[in-house]
């Protein structure tokens, strides 16, 4: 347990924790919004998957854009 906490506190571990929780929150948001819009279980799962993939792709594209701006203007 202590090893896990120590790993999570390291810079690389921190990135893993942030990305994991970001994926978790995105999944819950996709699931809840899908469950509100449609009623059938199968449809909810399909909509959740589509919305989740969309969120991930859009945020990843935005992250790449911000990283590119950072490299262009800050050179780091």
């Amino acid at each position: 347990m202590m090893a896990v906490l120590a790993a999570a506190a390291s810079p690389s571990g921190s990135v893993v924790v942030h990305v994991s929780l970001f994926l978790l929150v995105s999944l819950v948001v996709a699931f809840v919004t899908s469950a509100i819009r449609v009623g059938d279980v199968q449809q909810i799962l399909v909509e959740t998957r589509k919305f989740f993939v969309t969120i991930i792709l859009v945020i990843a594209a935005f992250a790449v854009f911000v990283e590119a701006l950072s490299w262009v203007f800050l050179r780091r």
Binding site: H18, L24, V25, I36
Partner: protein, 168 residues
């Protein structure tokens, strides 16, 4: 504008009027995530949605406990109206959980002295994520409350279920 109903059409549904049950369900949906859908008869959906929303809320609270080396009391600090009122406006979507967290643990750890405040080096490592999780869960429950408040949800319920019955 004066549309007449032909003899073959189904009669128009009666206009929606908010009842005591409607208000009670909406308040319950706010206080306890998923309970509104439970009362509407969507029991499985209400339980799963409530579990997911409360799950990320309390995960966030658990991540906001200061580390043992901190001199501060070991109580979660993600929900505190006095310290971050804007996030609290999002978190309060969770109703009872948020009010309880704010009442039990929401007091500031130390007085705000502005520029004279010393930096606290022992805040929880993932306090930012904790505030994010609790805020997102509150906003998601606002969506559930809006769905319960929508007259179309009640029309569908009347159309699809017997008066006092519930679907699993």
């Amino acid at each position: 504008m004066g549309a007449t109903q032909s003899s073959g059409e189904a009669p128009a549904p009666p206009p929606f009027r908010p009842s005591a049950e409607y208000l009670f369900t909406a308040v319950c949906a706010w206080l306890l995530p998923g309970s509104g859908h439970w009362f509407l008869g969507h029991r499985l959906r209400g339980a799963v949605l409530g579990g997911a929303i409360l799950g990320i809320f309390w995960l966030g609270e658990a991540m906001a406990i200061p580390p043992p080396e901190s001199k501060n009391p070991r109580k979660p600090i993600a929900v505190t109206r006095e310290v971050h009122p804007i996030f609290f406006a999002c978190q309060v979507g969770n109703g009872f959980s948020t009010l309880m967290a704010n009442t039990l643990w929401g007091a500031p750890l130390y007085p705000d002295r502005g520029a004279q405040s010393k930096p606290d080096h022992h805040l929880p490592t993932y306090l930012n994520l904790a505030i994010l999780l609790t805020s997102v869960s509150g906003l998601l429950n606002f969506l559930l409350v809006l769905h319960v408040l929508d007259p179309r949800t009640w029309s569908e319920r009347r159309a699809s279920s017997p008066p006092r019955g519930g679907s699993p």
